[in-house]
Symmetry: C2
Subunit: 413 residues, 2 copies
């Protein structure tokens, strides 16, 4: 090993993943560690117990944790992720980013490298929207981005977020103020599973994220008339499900064509035939539409094309279409300098890597939006599986991506 | 009124419909009178109380009711329908056929007409499959067509049909024997709501049913892969819902084209996206397929065309398709002679009428299958609505159809 090599302890990473995997485990083979649940608290306690004594640890007003060997440093590179999960989630989403961040910090500390900005481990609460329908609660709170609306969002038992925070032991106040000193943050880095198939299919071990796709979302409702399936001639039908079928297929076609000319995915991932039955012509169907791109203008253009196509379908069929807007988020381009730094870090580690966009949102995007230069490292999701107990990333990729993260950390400045 | 005119008492029909409408009424505005329920028993009791004293009434081993002024007659025309309903059903399905049959019998009795075959009112149990997933239980039992499988079918509380019959007060034995003397049945007539839009759209008051469309049915399951909607490029997807959308639209197209060349309807009336969500590419979708025709050979041909089209869609997409057969019934052509008789009866009444196929199954089809010459009269369903509290037929159509039924009854022979 060269003198300046960064030594990543894969066994330690695996052991810490094992410890966290035992917290909130379900009888369906996964873990449920919801935002501000006891299981999330327990995971934070577990992580805290892993920190060397030399760390200075600070918990903010909403339960995020910051830990550093150098609390005295004027500026610091923050790195980390989250410890909560979806219902019956997997071993790696969020957790891997926390464990590998700690490992990267320790690897740099154990080397003879002297990073320009001493690192701070950042562990966030409630990144998943599973409990409150609100994503990245902890990092938004840390950055002063948490709205009153988000703070008042309720879970399935009508418990509002602010009350859940209190019950978990925190006393949030003045949420429009960051809980983190933004001037101190020289950069933010996050390692995360890809949650898609790109790296796995390409046999790359490391992905350098260029940007974060953001969705525009609708709930579509198609209304026609319920009829008897045997007694209603084809020409007298106002079949909402046949129309929805045509729409769903058309959205896929538009998106596939659009993906040839720019960054674009569009998806109908669910459908409900209201009062549907084998012996009925179905009179009402609803389905969600999710259109994402790293390019806002291109997404707008394809969104218009999809809406026009759906309207043409209902017009031709004498049906009604309602499109309820439910989300319109801004794509985030990550820091150009850090993309180059992480590219170079992967090359230095000698691991196969590629640049790619992120399809999902992450804590990292909030840092970039807050003006902190931000970079992300992806590891492959085997078969693209995430939010599922079958989440898996090969050890070699975890090793190389952690080494890439450490190398990036040591290089920034 | 000419001396041989048949006087239909519309007020009496409406009053009897009102009385039956009060039995099993729900807080959702309809009635629930399931097969072998207390409500069905109560409806039979109500109907029995309406019968003039001169009627000889017989209840068979499974609760069907036969009532006639002429039990001595060697042969009889049977006419009637059922009194059970679907969950939260309407005012007319089945019930109208019973009430108008009694009215037609009384109209002929009150006239100076002497039908060749004295009529017998026939009221059947459990025509709807809502409770046991078994249709036309009573008439199949009456005709010795009830299989052991049907007899053992269970309801949502795991109560088998045979036990439900016992609890309702009946002691069925040897169900492969008819409970009705088939040699005595000279013909069977049934009046029913159309349950489709044909008569309503055409402004006809009476339909003469030529045949009964029978379904071939499948449950289709399309399997691909669950993926993250934002993170999975269009080219790497195995999207079961987009494929299902294409299939559902394709089935409609095939059926619409086929309907131009023969009797054919095909319907996908429901769909389930297994584990579907707004942020997922959906990996598994199921939907039922219902293909009906009065022409078995034509239906077979279109069925083949549909199956081939679906298989081509999954092959092109690298998905899997499972087609589970769940029904394959025989279309029934009704008696040519009776079709002519009922056509002439409608003309004699002077009401606008047309021939049409029945899209749904009815007690009548079992009589034709058992070799009893069978005819059916339809009345319009306003907006094609059935199995719904909003079932409605204009009074004028009820009047004219009852008169047509009476005229047919008086003429047969």
């Amino acid at each position: 090993m060269p003198a300046d090599a960064l030594d990543v302890d894969l066994d330690r990473i695996r052991r810490r993943l094992d410890d966290l995997w035992a917290i909130g485990s379900t009888d369906r083979g996964g873990v449920t560690r919801l935002a501000y649940s006891e299981a999330e608290n327990e995971a934070f306690g577990c992580l805290r117990s892993e920190l060397p004594d030399a760390y200075s640890v600070r918990e903010d007003a909403i339960g995020n944790l910051y830990a550093t060997r150098r609390p005295d440093a004027d500026r610091s590179v923050y790195l980390g992720s989250h410890l909560d999960s979806v219902y019956n989630g997997g071993r790696l989403d969020g957790t891997l980013g926390v464990v590998t961040a700690l490992e990267a910090i320790e690897a740099v500390h154990a080397s003879d490298r002297s990073p320009a900005y001493p690192p701070t481990l950042a562990v966030f609460r409630g990144e998943e929207s599973a409990r409150f329908g609100q994503h990245t609660i902890g990092s938004r709170g840390a950055l002063g981005m948490l709205t009153v609306e988000a703070f008042s969002a309720t879970d399935g038992n009508d418990v509002p977020l602010w009350l859940a925070m209190q019950r978990a032991g925190f006393q949030p106040t003045n949420l429009s103020e960051p809980t983190l000193d933004l001037d101190r943050a020289a950069a933010f880095l996050e390692l995360h599973i890809e949650q898609g198939r790109v790296l796995d299919e390409a046999d790359d071990r490391v992905g350098v994220v260029t940007s974060i796709r953001a969705p525009v979302r609708y709930r579509a409702t198609v209304r026609g008339a319920d009829d008897h399936s045997g007694a209603t001639p084809m020409g007298l039908r106002r079949d909402a499900l046949a129309a929805a079928g045509e729409m769903i297929a058309r959205i896929e076609t538009i998106a596939t064509e659009a993906a040839a000319d720019g960054d674009l995915v569009a998806t109908v991932g669910d459908v409900t035939a209201v009062g549907g039955a084998i012996n009925k012509v179905c009179g009402e169907v609803t389905f969600p539409i999710d259109v994402r791109s790293t390019d806002r203008a291109y997404r707008d253009r394809i969104e218009d094309e999809i809406v026009s196509a759906l309207e043409a379908i209902v017009t031709g069929r004498d049906l009604e279409l309602e499109l309820e807007p439910i989300d319109r988020s801004e794509p985030v381009a990550l820091d150009e300098g850090l993309i180059g730094t992480l590219d170079a870090a992967a090359a230095s580690v000698g691991t196969p890597s590629r640049r790619l966009p992120s399809g999902g949102g992450h804590d990292a995007m909030n840092f970039q939006l807050a003006g902190v230069p931000t970079g992300m490292v992806f590891v492959p999701s085997v078969d693209g599986i995430s939010h599922n107990p079958r989440e898996r990333t090969p050890d070699a990729a975890i090793h190389d991506a952690t080494a890439t993260l450490a190398e990036g950390l040591a290089t920034i400045g």
